[in-house]
Amino acid sequence: MGIRTFVWMVLATVLLGPVSPAVGRIKLITLPVRERVEIQLDHANTTLVEEERIVPLVRGVNQVDFSWANTRIDPDTIIFRVVPHAEENEDAPEIHVLSVSYPPNEKALVWQVSSSASGSARVRISYILDGLQKSFSYRAVASRDESTLTLSQYMRLQNLSNEEFGESEIWSGFGQDFNKPIGINETREMLVHRFQNVPITKTYTCNPAKFDYLDKKENKLRVHMHYVIKNDAAHQLGQASLPYGKVRIFQEDSRGTTAFIGEDWGKFTPIDDEMQLFLGVAQDIVVRRTIEKHEQQHVAANAYHHEIIVKYEIENFKTEPVTLNIAEDLEYVRREVRLEPRLPLEWELGNRTTFAGGMDKEKSTLKDVVFKVDLPARAADGATEKVTHRLHVFFKNEW
């Protein structure tokens, strides 16, 4: 396409007195080209473009036209700044923007710029441009033993702004600068950072409220397998928040290549938070969940405590031992025994809870509780050990 949609025109005439932009005028114009472009992508959802041009000005009042047909510049965000000379120069002309006029039915404006002397001035124009947008994606390659991965973070710049940008300095707000051109309707993907040897935790989690059942009639829970990446320095990360984006995960195989093992949307992850990536359902870990007991204990009048025991029968058919996270949303459990959630949750664990080490306090909240269960590997003869655990909970003062 290559349409030049931004047009600069500088009237090389000294305009005596106020200019009437509506007046038809015979004019000699110069067309200063872009000397430099910076694309600032550090704002979450707004792109700021800054371009520098060398504008010839004559002593007096100059008219500088700027138009942006077929593009979506926010005209109220356009800033005109004169770039000062690198070294102090007393002879540098004094330049001022006197006014800006906006003609009707046109994507254009006219600056009236005064200059104390004839000569060229480097000016920087900044504006917010719609249609030039960024997104992030990741490529993770896990080691064979799934203990670490190499996380490559990419920024994808899509140019639907209808304007072509030549060599431009592109800044994502963190990481390195890029010096790349980007044409109309082009998409350019750039490697922002590659994080090596990022320790990962492979987790297996069942959570009936969140992940549902694999087979409800058989009471078999769906067990999700995740890679968990912690965004902190101890895990070779922690330099900045990880933006939202798709993560494609590969694993090194025995032939020296990699195999694709799944993908997930990585949520925005601040420093010190975890990014949990769902890779797939682990069908070799079978968890059967039943509510073994529900009794109500009369407190007074129409107030009751409700005693509930949830039983988990777990088998690991894998050839290696694993740790399973059993997560429960207590609001969900309360609804299961048909308690109306009119009142805030008030609960306490009963002494028949069997999980060793108790509740995972770091992961648990008022509403969600998490327990860890270590499961032995399947025996060499193929036999599996069935592990049974119970969650014993009282919902108190319900009416």
């Binding site: 106020p18 509506a22 550090d42 001022h96 003609p103 928040s241 407190v299 009048a301 008022l366």
Partner: protein, 468 residues
């Protein structure tokens, strides 16, 4: 370019009679024009001067304003010269030409006189906007204020002196509506106070225009002179400006190069939604290089020097009129480097009261061991919630955080956070979080429910909050 407003001196008719078919007329040019534009209403007072030749006797003057948005009831003629020798005998609005009037002027002399015609028009508006560019270390900023005049009145205004009125005036009718009616229709409207308030609001505050000297800019942006009048502020753009129909023009009204400001973080769910937001707070006073005028309503766009020669866009927000001495607060939205969450750690109920059905008998349930007649219901209880306002600061500076949150019902707020009541139900406390640190600010909310609820306000209690 077209002139749709005309003043015609009719020469061919005697004693004020309007010629129907054969006319000869002269068209005196505008000598000057002054626009006084109100931003609170679609209202502009136009004053224009024209030099008109008069002969002794009756001189008919025709004034027309085809395709413009002038209020026909507002058109007035005043004589700036020979005022004691010129009298407007009557004003006539012809029935067949809605946007026209005739004045019959009795002259006692033969010669030229400068006349001033004034009227209200709609379609010319002005607005203010502001651009802030903060230093890289976010301690001072450069603030530029702009005024933007937009002319959709249907008329070109060349070399007009421009005055902008800051403040809210009272209008009983909209000028744009009046402009679309003929004088007959306008008169049929409820006319009692129609002009009075409007005229008072606009004219009494505004002195007659001075001479409109051509302004040589001298290479600097024109100064915009600010002065206070009554409840209003008037910005007068130095010299004259040309604003053709459908064009708009933006001019700098002030510049303050090093305005000190503070970065604040606030959690005010009623005002900013359920999120911690970051604000730039500065003051419209002399110490800040401002304070010479109130700041009219307008959009503030905020950028920051990114320390690499370029700018970072931080956000934009509309601000309301800022009086001299008042604060300017610009909400920049959430800061991804500061994580804020309210975590509920524990919840429990106590002080439970039951009532026997059909009787005014109440008993308190203590420890859950008292068996009370099943024909009773819980009628009062307290709910306790143990919470933490958790803040993680990943910026490289200590941050000031304000928590201001309303609670409904009969609530006790227990903490060691030194809170104050912003109002009867809104709790406020302040804290600072050093760079790179995480802090938990614990508090307990006790909400009395049912029969226990005796008040509709928040009580503050100092108490050590124990977290298991």
């Amino acid at each position: 370019m077209r002139y749709t407003i005309c003043l015609i001196l009719c020469l061919m008719f005697a004693a004020g009679a309007v010629a129907k078919n054969v006319d000869l007329s002269t068209v005196p040019d505008r000598q000057s024009v002054q626009l006084t534009i109100y931003n609170s209403e679609d209202l502009t007072l136009v004053r224009e001067t024209r030099r008109v030749s008069f002969k002794p006797g009756i001189n008919p003057l025709q004034f027309s304003w085809a395709n413009t948005l002038i209020d026909p009831t507002s058109v007035e003629l005043r004589f700036l010269e020979h005022a004691d020798e010129l009298v407007v005998l009557d004003t006539m609005f012809p029935h067949d030409k809605p946007q026209m009037l005739y004045w019959n002027v009795q002259s006692e002399f033969d010669g030229e006189a400068m006349v001033e015609i004034s009227y209200f028009t709609s379609g010319i508006t002005w607005s203010a906007d502001y651009t802030c560019i903060a230093d890289a270390d976010e301690t001072t900023l450069r603030l530029e204020g702009f005024v933007r005049v937009t002319n959709n009145s249907g008329e070109d205004y060349e070399n007009a002196q421009i005055r902008l009125v800051v403040g809210k005036i009272n209008l009983v009718e909209k000028i744009a509506q009046l402009a679309r009616l003929s004088i007959k229709e306008v008169e049929s409207l409820k006319a009692v106070d129609r002009n009075q308030l409007r005229q008072q609001a606009a004219r009494s505050a505004l002195a007659p225009s001075e001479g409109f000297d051509f302004y040589e800019s001298g290479g600097k942006p024109k100064e915009i002179i600010k002065e206070g009048l009554s409840e209003y502020f008037i910005y007068t753009v130095e010299g004259t400006e040309t604003i053709p129909n459908q064009w708009s023009k933006r001019m700098r009204s002030f510049e303050a190069k090093t305005v000190p400001f503070a970065v604040k973080y606030r959690y005010r769910p009623q005002q900013y939604g359920d999120q911690l937001v970051r604000l730039y707070v500065l003051t419209n006073d002399e110490a800040s290089g401002l304070g010479t005028t109130p700041l009219p309503d307008g959009v503030v766009r905020v950028f920051r020097n990114n320390g690499r020669g370029g700018l970072s866009y931080l956000g934009a927000e509309s601000i309301q009129y800022v009086p001299i001495g008042d604060k300017i607060e610009v909400n920049l939205g959430p800061d991804p480097r500061v994580i804020f969450e309210i975590v509920e750690l524990k919840s429990w109920r106590d002080n439970i009261w039951v009532q026997l059905r059909g009787a005014e008998v109440f008993r308190r349930v203590d420890g859950g061991n008292v068996d009370i007649d099943a024909k009773a219901s819980v009628v009062g209880w307290d709910v306790h919630a143990l919470c933490s306002a958790r803040i993680r600061n990943y910026t490289d500076k200590t941050i000031d955080v304000e928590f201001r949150c309303p609670f409904s019902g009969d609530v006790v707020f227990r903490s060691e956070l030194n809170p104050v009541l912003h109002d009867f139900r809104t709790v406020e406390f302040h804290t600072t979080v050093p760079a790179g640190q995480k802090q938990d600010h614990y508090f307990e909310l006790l909400s009395r429910k049912g029969r226990n609820e005796k008040q509709g306000n928040v009580t503050l209690e100092t108490a050590r909050i124990v977290v298991e």
